[in-house]
Subunit: 157 residues, 2 copies
DNA sequence: GACAATATCTTGCTCATCGAGATTCTCGCT
DNA sequence: AGCGAGAATCTCGATGAGCAAGATATTGTC
C-alpha cells in the first residue's frame, strides 16, 4: 500500500508539472504574440496551419475555425488579420470553387523559428541527456498522455 | 552520426508531443470555460488562485494581474466577474488596508475537480503503468523541461 | 503634518468574437 | 440541361474583455 501512495504522489506531481508546463508555454506564446502584433488566437492559428502543412493535409477557413473553436465570422476576421500581415495567402481551390485554401507564407515559418527555435533546441538537448531506453519511455508516456487528453476532449462531445 | 539523427528525431517528436498536449489542454480549458459561463482568462485566474492557495501564499488583485499579464483595469473586471459568480470573495487586509485579499470559494474547487478530475485520474493511471525507475525518468524529464521553459520565458525579459 | 509610494478602482475607448443572414458555388435529381 | 438542396465563405450589427490614463484610498518617511 505504501507503493500505491507513492505511485499516486508521483502521478500527481507529474500532473502538476504538465499543467505548469502548459501555463508557461501559454505565456511564452502570449509574449511572442504581443511582440509581433499578433493575438493569442493568431498564434494558435499559425500553429494549426503549420501542423496541417507538415502533415500535408489541406487547410481551409472551415477546418481552421473548427480546430480553434471559432465561428465563421471570427474565422474570417482571423484570416483577414493573418493575410494582412503577410503570413497567410488565400487561394481558391480549383476543384471545388466554394473552398478557399490557406497557404502559410515562408515568413511565418521563419518568424516562428526565430522565437521558438532556441526553446526547441533546449528541449532536444534535454532529451539528448537521456539514453535510448529512457527516451523511448518518455516518448511512450507523452504519447499515452496525448491520447488520453485527446480522448477526454472529444468524448465530452 | 546515424545516432545523432536518431536522437534529434526523438527530440523533435517529443517537442511536437508536448506542443500537441498543450493545445489539447488549452481547448479542454476553453470548453470548461464555455460550459460554466467563464472566459478562458477566468479559468487561468482560478488555476493561479488555487495554486496560490495550495502553496499558502496570499493572493491579491495585484499579484493575480501580474501573473496573468493583465493591467489593473482588466484585473478589476476579472475579479468582479469571479466574485459575481461566487467563486471568489474580496476581503480587505486588516494589516495593510490598501490591499484586498482574494479567497477562493469551495465551489470553485469542486467545480474544477468535477471537470478535470477524470482527466487527472487517467493521467495518474497512465503513470501507474510504468515501473518506479521509469516514473523517476519521466518526472526528471518533465522537471527539466519545465525549468527550461521557465528560463526561456523569464530570460526574454 | 506634508509627500512620495503603493494598491485598487473608474472612465472611455478599441477590437476580437458572436449570432444571424447574404452570397457564391457544387452536386444530385428529374 | 437546369432546378433546388446543401455547403463554404463572407458581411453586418451587437456584445464584452482588455487597455491607457487618471482618480481614490491607505501606508510609511522626513
Amino acid at each position: 500500500m505504501a507503493d500505491d501512495v507513492h505511485d499516486q504522489d508521483a502521478g500527481m506531481r507529474v500532473v502538476h508539472l504538465l499543467r505548469a508546463i502548459t501555463v508557461e508555454l501559454d505565456q511564452l506564446g502570449a509574449r511572442f504574440a504581443a511582440r509581433h502584433a499578433l493575438h493569442p488566437t493568431d498564434v494558435r492559428a499559425l500553429i494549426c496551419l503549420l501542423d496541417a502543412a507538415r502533415t500535408g493535409e489541406p487547410a481551409t477557413p472551415g477546418t481552421l475555425g473548427a480546430r480553434l473553436g471559432l465561428n465563421s465570422a471570427g474565422t474570417t476576421a482571423l484570416v483577414d488579420r493573418l493575410e494582412k500581415l503577410g503570413h497567410v495567402r488565400r487561394e481558391r481551390d480549383s476543384r471545388d470553387r466554394r473552398r478557399v485554401l490557406l497557404n502559410v507564407d515562408e515568413s511565418a515559418v521563419t518568424l516562428g523559428w526565430s522565437f521558438f527555435g532556441p526553446l526547441i533546441h533546449e528541449v532536444v538537448a534535454v532529451m539528448g541527456r537521456f539514453d535510448a531506453a529512457d527516451q523511448a519511455t518518455i516518448e511512450r508516456f507523452l504519447t499515452d498522455v496525448h491520447e488520453t487528453v485527446t480522448q477526454q476532449r472529444t468524448c465530452q462531445e
